[in-house]
């Protein structure tokens, strides 16, 4: 793709404050018409804020934005969208109670003065056509809540396409997609780009960014640190720019475990999600669980932890015996760090200290009476141990970056003696720096004898960290891989049901 001559979008010294915190500091950004421009940066670097400003979701405080050569004076999201700008989020912004067609048309404007009435027939035809172009086969009348996440993303895409699209912003779209779904998405994005739609792409997975984009802007702490042509940069360079320092590749220490069983799961079943799952974990072992989204991996962790109804099977801790309920699990030294921090792991509207203390009430209180001094003490200890960046322990967790939030979500368990750590997508939505810190923590903990059961969709993470991998498919164990059997391909084959190799159960 040749010279970037015509700029669709030009942002000049854009700044934005939330409260007293500056999120964007005089950012310049431009975008050519036939370009896929990626924005990378750690969490809290200001990527999302920048695209929110471009798409009109939040007003700009200082700075100018030129769209198609003319100054954009309005900040009404509706007008901006009508001028051909669309934003697709990580989580599809859809309306679960409405049908596909209704979702697509809901912001459509009746422009032609002739008829005030909306022509549903015509809209249905157009939508069907667009869906067919994207290779979707679901009906336009089915309710959106009955679709898979990938299909929902396609609906989101189609609703963006329905307008005369000039600029499409895609904010971390691949987080919850399977590899084949990612491929389909990228194909669509390329097709759009070829047809003249400028693309801004935000992604955490750098290999995807490198694969897709023409140009990359690196943001750090609200400032642009570099704008690189994709062909002229490498993953390592990007990481260095994003973090501002070198990050050692994760350790490739000898992956050995003690061979002493710490947890035994047998014939576990949770209706609708988990069926007949049996495995053992050793002390000092990291057991990876691979599989597609919806294969029942998170549900398996939740069932082990006692959060889900169990219709059959047993979970037995070598030290503490059978485990049925959450309380028992926790008192037996089992902890669960969930995938969705905001909904399941943290209390965003409460202080960091309260978040850290809530799992340690037994240690901080006596006879049900809280001891604030002890609470502060324990909170401080955990904050220091995990190097959580904060302004004060009474700060709300909401104000922390994704990586620091994940640290809090993990740290709250670690005042107690944790023998078995269940961790779900440890680096989802986490910046590169925090990610490596978390990986280091997992490795070290395993070395110290902790058993870790880790669910991950990040293939590299899964393969690098795990001693052994169980692959799940449709709620069952599709196979197990260990040692030299572990490879990306092997995991994928098991996950998609192409092979039943390995030491199957």
């Amino acid at each position: 793709m040749g010279g970037f001559t015509i700029n669709v979008l030009e942002c000049k010294s854009v700044s934005k404050w939330y409260g007293d915190a500056a999120v964007l500091k005089s950012v310049d950004f431009d975008l050519a018409q036939n370009e896929i421009h990626a924005i990378v940066g750690e969490n809290g670097a200001g990527k999302s804020t920048l695209v929110k400003i471009i798409s009109g979701l939040v007003p700009v405080d200082v700075g100018t934005i030129k769209f198609e050569g003319s100054d954009r004076t309005f900040s009404n999201i509706r007008e901006i969208q009508n001028s051909g700008v669309a934003l697709i989020h990580q989580e599809p912004r859809l309306f679960p109670d409405l049908s596909v067609l209704e979702n697509v048309c809901v912001d459509y404007q009746v422009r032609d003065g002739k008829s005030k009435r909306f022509n549903w027939k015509k809209a249905e035809g157009e939508t069907k056509e667009l869906l067919a172009q994207l290779g979707c086969s679901f009906s336009v009348h089915s309710p959106v809540k009955a679709l898979s996440v990938a299909d929902q993303q396609m609906v989101d895409m189609v609703s963006a396409l329905r307008k005369k699209l000039k600029l499409l912003i895609v904010d971390e779209p691949t987080a919850s997609l399977t590899p084949s779904e990612v491929a389909r998405l990228f194909e669509t994005i390329r097709k759009l780009n070829a047809s003249g739609v400028a693309i801004i792409f935000i992604g955490h997975r750098l290999e995807e960014v490198l694969q897709l984009s023409d140009r990359i802007t690196v943001l750090k702490d609200g400032e642009v640190v570099a704008v690189k042509k994709t062909s002229e940069t490498t993953e390592d360079e990007l990481i260095r720019l994003m973090v501002g320092r070198n990050i050692s590749a994760s350790s490739t220490d000898s992956k050995t475990s003690s061979g002493q069983t710490s947890l035994k799961v047998s014939n576990l079943e949770s209706p609708g999600y988990v069926a007949d799952v049996s495995f053992e974990v050793n002390r000092g072992e990291i057991l990876g669980i691979g599989g597609l989204v919806g294969a029942g991996r998170s549900e398996l962790l939740e069932t082990i932890f006692g959060l889900r109804k169990r219709s059959a099977g047993e979970v037995i801790s070598t030290k503490h015996g059978s485990i049925k309920k959450v309380k028992r699990a926790i008192s037996s030294g089992i902890a669960l760090v969930p995938e969705d921090r905001a909904h399941n792991g943290l209390f965003l509207n409460r202080s960091i200290n309260e978040n850290l203390v809530i799992t340690n009430l037994k240690l901080t209180s006596r006879g049900g009476k809280r001891n604030f001094g002890k609470e502060r003490e324990i909170g401080q200890e955990l904050i220091e141990k995990f190097r959580v960046k904060l302004s004060s322990a009474t700060q709300l967790v909401r104000e922390l970056s994704g990586g620091n939030q994940q640290k809090v979500s993990l740290a709250k368990w670690l005042k107690q003696e944790i023998e078995i750590l269940l961790i779900d997508e440890p680096s989802r939505g986490v910046d590169v720096g925090s990610k490596s810190e978390i990986h280091q923590f997992l490795n070290n903990s395993a070395k110290d004898g902790m058993s870790i059961i880790m669910v991950s969709s990040d293939m590299r993470e899964l393969i690098e960290l795990s001693h052994r991998i169980i692959v799940m498919r449709n709620g069952r164990i599709a196979g197990e891989l260990s040692g030299s059997e572990i490879s990306e391909e092997a995991v994928l084959r098991l996950a998609s049901g192409l092979a039943t190799a390995g030491k199957g159960h």
Binding site: L57, R93, D107, F138, G272
Partner: protein, 338 residues
């Protein structure tokens, strides 16, 4: 892949409205068997006209609840509209009927506008804002009326006729009620505006990011329920002829919200239909009339309404859960096929 429904019949059974309809049939059968006179035409038509006001206001309340809001002030708004209209009629006996209706609807709409502004731009949770205006508007009714009620002979015959005369065999009161329900049905199922209202309730953040004017839609539904409450004030006057500042519309919010909830509208927004609300209103009407007709002690009647709401939401909830489970299973099956 969409969930394929086996046939139209199972589709009908899965519809929430059908459940209420069945329940109504059962109630009719029970009351009719115990006391055949329950079916007398004048009794049935009286039941309908007694729920007519409920239907008018319920139609508006449905949309408000669909947007994740609630309007507790409908009773006071109805009272305000009726009182202002009544006072205009008392001072100007020759005021055209149509003008009176318009006045009532405007007054109601203004009350709704107040609620809408507080909830949208004021960012006050609807339950708090309208708890406040419930009292404020009632206080205003007293100040406006100077504590004096409107007597039947001050109400123009034209208004009274709305409850009695019938251009096509059913009284105006019911025509207004049905029109309100049809209007809400039409808006919510045929127009983009309706889809936007449901979108706002279904996913508020999504609605904002899709460029829907969140505040405008919120204000719109509150003004709408206000206007309908104003119309309710006209119908109240037509039906009861006396407008007492303390009594007019008192406690209406309880009945309206009950009807909407019984009619299957999700109190957390996003789903609900006008037809369901209409059936919910009829159910409440049949119950309160029927219990007296079959001779249930008046002391048990309050219990019955409570039971009904509980039963309705419990059944609704279990049906919804089962449906969601079916969706999930369908998705899983679909993945297996792939």
């Amino acid at each position: 892949m969409a969930i394929k429904l086996n046939s139209k019949v199972t589709y009908l059974f899965k519809k929430r409205e059908f459940g209420i309809f069945l329940f109504i049939l059962v109630l009719l059968a029970v009351f009719g068997t115990l006391e055949p006179r329950f079916f007398r035409s004048d009794n049935l038509s009286a039941i309908l006209s007694s729920v007519g006001i409920l239907m008018v206001v319920g139609a508006g309340q449905t949309l408000v609840i669909v947007t994740r809001n609630i309007d507790l002030s409908v009773g006071s708004t109805l009272g305000m509209a009726a009182m202002v209209m009544g006072m205009v009629a008392r001072e100007n006996p020759d005021f055209p009927i149509f003008g009176l209706i318009v006045i009532a609807m405007i007054v109601g709409g203004l009350c709704g506008l107040l609620n809408g502004l507080l909830v949208s731009y004021g960012k006050i949770p609807a339950i708090i804002a309208t708890l406040g205006t419930l009292a404020i508007i009632r206080g205003a009714v007293f100040l406006v009326s100077d504590n004096v009620q409107i007597d039947p002979n001050d109400v123009p015959q034209g208004i009274i006729n709305l409850a009695t005369t019938s251009p096509i065999g059913i009284p105006w009161l019911l025509i207004f009620a049905f029109l309100s329900i049809i209007l809400v049905w039409y808006v919510s199922s045929k127009t983009l505006l309706g889809k936007r209202i449901y979108a706002v309730g279904s996913n508020p953040e999504g609605a904002i990011s899709r460029g829907l004017s969140f505040n405008k839609i919120t204000i719109m539904v509150f003004v709408f329920v206000g206007v309908l409450a104003g119309l309710g004030g006209v119908l109240y006057t037509a039906r009861y002829a006396t407008i007492n500042p303390a009594d007019v519309g008192r406690g209406l919010e309880f009945d309206v919200i009950s009807a909407v909830v019984i009619g299957g509208t999700n109190i957390f927004g996003g789903s609900g239909t006008a037809l369901g609300t209409a059936l919910g209103c009829i159910l409440i009407g049949i119950l309160s009339n029927g219990l007296t007709v079959v001779g249930v002690s008046p002391f048990w009647k309050a219990c019955a309404t409570g039971f009904l709401i509980l039963a309705a939401v419990a059944i609704d909830n279990s049906v919804r859960k089962r449906q969601e489970q079916n969706f999930l299973l369908a998705i899983r099956n679909q993945r297996t096929v792939n």
